[in-house]
Every structure is written in structure tokens, then in C-alpha cells.
Symmetry: none
Subunit: 213 residues, 4 copies
Amino acid sequence: MTDQRRPSAGVARRSETSRRAVLTAAFELAAEVGYAKLSIEGIAARAGVGKQTIYRWWPSKGAVLFDAFLMFTTGEPGEGGGGEGGGESVEEAALPDTGDIEADLKTVMFATVDELNDPRYDRTMRALSIEIAHDADLAALYAERLNRPMRELKKRRLRAAQEAGQLAADLDLDVAVDLLWSPLLVRWLHREGPLTHEYAAALVETALGGMRP
Amino acid sequence: MTDQRRPSAGVARRSETSRRAVLTAAFELAAEVGYAKLSIEGIAARAGVGKQTIYRWWPSKGAVLFDAFLMFTTGEPGEGGGGEGGGESVEEAALPDTGDIEADLKTVMFATVDELNDPRYDRTMRALSIEIAHDADLAALYAERLNRPMRELKKRRLRAAQEAGQLAADLDLDVAVDLLWSPLLVRWLHREGPLTHEYAAALVETALGGMRP
Amino acid sequence: MTDQRRPSAGVARRSETSRRAVLTAAFELAAEVGYAKLSIEGIAARAGVGKQTIYRWWPSKGAVLFDAFLMFTTGEPGEGGGGEGGGESVEEAALPDTGDIEADLKTVMFATVDELNDPRYDRTMRALSIEIAHDADLAALYAERLNRPMRELKKRRLRAAQEAGQLAADLDLDVAVDLLWSPLLVRWLHREGPLTHEYAAALVETALGGMRP
Amino acid sequence: MTDQRRPSAGVARRSETSRRAVLTAAFELAAEVGYAKLSIEGIAARAGVGKQTIYRWWPSKGAVLFDAFLMFTTGEPGEGGGGEGGGESVEEAALPDTGDIEADLKTVMFATVDELNDPRYDRTMRALSIEIAHDADLAALYAERLNRPMRELKKRRLRAAQEAGQLAADLDLDVAVDLLWSPLLVRWLHREGPLTHEYAAALVETALGGMRP
DNA sequence: CCCTAAGCGAGACGGTACGTCCGGTCTTCCA
DNA sequence: TGGAAGACCGGACGTACCGTCTCGCTTAGGG
């Protein structure tokens, strides 16, 4: 997000306490009140922190929210590039692989559906989504730090299936991932209909088999 | 949005002039400054209208934006009144049908891609999308008045292909529509990558043929 | 206030019902909510009258209040010049005359004190006073229609005392009236101290006897 | 008005610059446009200050006006802080004392008359008077901070005359002050007649000599 | 006895100001 | 020197009234 973490050298002593207080407050407020009423003023107050402390370390409300999300989702580190110590949880994770790609995809997508149906996660994720939608910088950050690792995981599972001959050898895995997950996201974000396991299953089946007879 | 048009009875009717001025101002401002700087105060000023006139007839900034979009997209009516005079443009329209479903889908999706790449349309549509994402009422309105007609059109073309034996007889057309268009929307809204004809073509081909070998 | 009453000729038929409803509403609202929250909108609503009916017949909020005061204070007529039929109540009234000017003055001033201490009268009169203080036109009207008759009454009693040799022959009665009543008004309007009979009595005694030894 | 000036403790202290800008703007605007068009919005704009800065430190428009009047009338301090540094100008002042109470009173009252006839002073003072008339809190403040010192000055001169045997030994000086000045105020505020030196002279003479023969 | 013009209630309109909230910046003190 | 505290300017929020302006309706003349 920002630079910081000039390890020793000059001086630089960002308060870890404040950082965590801000991110925690942001995350909780997002879950409680949603995007519309989420204010930097409110975050600072809830965190017991001066507003300047937020402005000093984050460029925008979305950036705070993003870091908060990162902290509570992946291991911890939040933002500093430093950390090979934190991202591991994502790196080490893997999608289930029972050998049956259709079943495994359904398992994962059902989990996504359940998550999006949880009000707390819904509000947080919705707030983040909205920030991303109108802040290109944040979108890039999101793509790189949150979306890319997730997409890698998905592609890894698809690649395994491909190598097992269950998917077409010339399948573009990025397109495949979009084909499966995007409809879920759109239906959720724009509330175009109920987000059910049935819908997710239909997506998997249709995407796998294709629309042709 | 609102009802109005109690033809006689009470009295004092809504000013059509003001209504159009507001919607025009909203549409133009959204295209010019984007969501973040779109204010009711600004719309009122640009429209030469008292703020109360906006608050009187629309429940939220998003509702104004929605009506503006509706007015400039479909024929006219916006919300009240006209009735059977306006919705026709959408109803009467139809997707191209050359007999080749793959080619026709690409044609339509290329057009969508081009639209989303146009900065003016991008800003307007993005503003509307964001409003929809955090206003369930507006989302319902959008689903009903803007999304449903478009989806009907798409499904009509798919149904024709289905009847011609080019698509599976048991294909769920709603799922099919989502499969094709959602990835476009997500990539656009979250700026996950360049929105190109190539990408759209890949989507069509993969969705039609399926991911399996 | 206004002209109206072109008896026949064109047409002109002001609704007496509305006039009274407006004045009653104004008077009651002034007594209930005081000057600060007294609005033409509120008066119209309470009177069940269109705002235009007020703007048509009165030039200002103060004018309405003035007429209301006039109607509920002196007999009735309100404003139309027509009426030699209404002012009589004031004309016919007279201050008490027991032959003892000091006692009589105290009686009258005690009554004034009591009136000003009554919350309902206080609020109404205060609202009117404030309007008068920042509207020269209204001030002129007030001086002519409400203040002058009252002053005449007072001067009449003083003149009687003067003729009876109880007051100096060369006493300027207007100055005398001011000397007696103004301190009461100022103390009341600016809340400079408690408005008591004692204070009124002291005023009368000092004014009569003078400040010299 | 307000307290403030917690010298150390918390932090962030009030801007003296803003305070003076607000009071200056209020004073000038009151003199220029009068009570009716005096708005907090206007004061803030003219002072180059955020509205919140006014709302933060003053409870009402009248309070601002009062402080403005205080600052431009007595030395300076306005309300908070300074303390013993400001009130002196009034304390040290004194009414003229030539030994002739009648002449001295006329001198002072002529000055008052001239002041009230000055349009700038008239508008300012009228605005303040009106605010006082409908705000009891402000009235108390006014009585204490502006009226009391002035009254003290007047009583001091009257007391000197009393000790010199020119006034009755048992004269209530407060009543005497009211007797002399209130008629001036009422005639001015309600515009009951021309405010002339003649009128003031008549007041002094009548009050001194009494109404009796 | 109808016709017509007014007054009427209702209330929308373009505006101004209200008092509040928040965004970002700046300043002061403490640790 | 980073951080808490919070004042500051700016500007949008949503509300309340202002004074003006249609609307249809009602009603009282004059034809």
C-alpha cells in the first residue's frame, strides 16, 4: 500500500498497535454498518486513533479496507512488502482434489456461495467490491494481492484436471475460471437472484459440458 | 420510482421540464465526473432546479441516476406516466440472427465490449453499478426495468438457436446468459484485465463448447 | 394593511371564513410556539388555507400577526379601512378615574404587569414586538392602530388629573406617558429584571414626584 | 459564551484568527444588511471560515452578534480567556460630571440619541436587540456583560448628584436610570416618533422635576 | 339561470439557509 | 518524531420555509 518498513536505518517507528487497531476497526465497522456509513472519522474513533494516523499510512478509505480484508483473510501482514512470513497461508492452501473435477468445483463453489450469503462477510466484501469498482489503484492492488493468489489456486486445480484428461488440453484456464466464478459474483453483487447451491451446480455443469447439444 | 399522475383529484402536478432537466443533468454529470463527485447538490445546480424537487420525486441519488440511465437508454419514460409509449424500443429490438449462434453472440458481445470501453459510458454505467451494489431497492428496480428486458432479448436469440438444434435442448437459458456476460461485467467492473474482442470471443467459444475435451 | 373592499364594481369577494381562520391560527401559534417558530407555512396549514391566500391579503408575516392581535384585542375588524364599526371598543374604553391619579396609575400599570407576565400574552406580544422592531411599515401601522388609541386613553386620564391640578399645567403628556410605561416595556422585552407590582409602583411614585429632593 | 481555554491537557486550541474574523464579519454584516438578512452562512463566508467553526464556539446567531458587539464596544475580549485584560475600558470610563446633573444627563442622552440615529449603529443594535428579545439566555448575557456596566456608570453619576444634594436621598437609582433611558429605547426600537435632542431634554427635565405641579 | 372571473385549497417550483457530518490538512502536546 | 487529539476550511447532506406559480374547484355576481 504505502512504503514504510524502512527496517532500521533512519528511524521510522510505526505503531503496530495503531495499525492493527485501525484495521480491526475498519473490518468490524464494514461488517456492521456497511459501505455507505463507513467513514474514516468513524474508523479512527473506533480504533482510538487520530485521523492523521490513518491519512499518514493509507492513501484512501478503500486502501484501509483492503488491508483490513487482507489481514483477516490471508494470514496477517497487511501490506508491507517485506513479508514472506504472511502470505504462506494462501500459497500453501489448495483446492480439494478427489480426482473428480466436477465434484471438486461444486464443493468449492458451494463454499463461496455460503460465504457470500453470510451477512457479515457480505457487507465487508460488498464494501470492498464497491471501493474497487471506483478506484483503479485499489483494483490493481486487489487483483495482485487478493485475486491473483486465489485465481492461481483455482487454475492449479484445473490444470491438474487438464493433465488428467478431464478438461480440454487447449482450454484457457483464465477464461475457465471467469466462466465459473463471475456469474456468482455478478448475481451476488447486483442481487440478480438467489445465490443457491443449485445455481452454482448448474453453472459448473453447463460450463463443463458447454451449451451445445 | 414514484407513482404520481393522479390525473385530476388533488391538484398540482409534476413538472415534466424539471424532471427531464434533472435526469439530463444527472446523466451528463455522471459521464463527466464519475460516481465519486456526483452530488445531488451538483445535479440540482446543473439542472437549475431546487434540491427539494429532487428529494420530492426520487428516494436516493441512485434512483435519479437509474431514471436518467433509463431515459437515455430505453426510449424515454423514466418512471411515471407515459406508459405504453416508451418501453417499446427495448421490446421491439432484437439481437441479430444470421443463423450462426456463435457469430451472432460474438457480434453482440463485441458491441458490449466497445460500449464498456467508451469512457463516457464507462463512468455512467460504473456509477450506476456502484449504486446498485449498495442499494437493494435500486437493485430490484434495475433487475426489473433494465436487466430483465435485456436478458429477455438475449434469451430469445438463444431460444431460437435452441430450436434450430444449435444449443442443447435442456440448456437453462438464464445460466447460459450469465455464463456469457458475467465474465465481461466482472472484468470491467473490477478492472481485472483488458476488455478485448479476443477475450469476448474466447468466452463465447469456451461457453459454447464447454471445458471438457 | 391591504386595500380590498371594492364593494361592487368588478367583483372581489374575499372569504371572511379564511380571514378569520388565518388570524386565529396566527394568534394561537404565536402564543404556543413563539416568534422563532412562527411560519407562514405553519399558519396556512393550521388554518386549513392555501399559502397564497395569506400572501394575497397580507404583505408580511408581521402584518398577519398584527391583524390577529388587533382582532383579538380590540373588537374585531382586523384591517379593512371600512370599519368605523369596530374600533369603538377602544374608543369607548377609559382608564379608571377615582380622582387619585397615583392610585389610578398604579391600578392600570399593575394590570399591564400582570398581562406581560402571562405566558400566552408574553409570547404573542413578544412576537409582535419583534416584528415591529424590524419592519418600519409595521411599526407605523402599530403606532397608528394599536399604540395611538392606547396612548390617547392614557393621556385622557392624565389630562383630567392635570385639569384637577394634580399634575403640572405645562406637563407634556406624551413625555409623561413614555416616562411611565417605557421602563415597563424595556424591562419586559429585554428581561432586565422581574416585572413586579413593586417596580411599577416605584415607577409611578418616582415619575410623579420627580428625582429631585 | 463558551468556556474553552483548557490551557494544556487535551490539545488543539481555538484559533484566535478565526474568532476575530467571525466577529468582525458578523459586526459588519449586521451593520450592512441588518437583522433580517444576517445568516450564519453569510458570516462564515465573509469571514472565510467553515460554518462548523461558528457552530463549535457559539450556541446561536445571537451569541455571535453579541460577542461581536462586545468586542467592538468594550475593549476586546469577547468571551473567553483574556479576563482582566479587557473589561477595563468600561470600568475606567465615567460619565461627565460638571456638577450640574441636569446638564450632564442631557449631554449623555444627546450622545445616545445621536448614536441611535446613526444608520450603522442602528442596524447593528437593532439586530442585537431583536435577538435579545427572543432569546432569554442571550438576554441574561446581555444584562450581565453589556447592560450592567453601562448602568453602573449611570448610577455612579446619579449617586454623586445624590450626595451633592441634587437628587432625593431616597431615590432608587435603578428606577431613575430606567425612567431616563427606557423611553429613548422604546421610541427608537418601535420607531414611535423622531428621536431628537428636544425629546431627550424633555425626558430629563420631566424626570428630574416630576409630573406634579 | 347560465357564464365567467375571482378567490380558494393544494401543493410543486426555484431558492436560501439551516444545523450536521465528513474529508483532508494542520497544529499542539505527550511519550 | 510518531501518534492522540481535535480545530480548521470546505462542501454535501437532507430539511424547513420563503414567496411565486399553476392547477382544478367553488361561488357569486352581471348578462
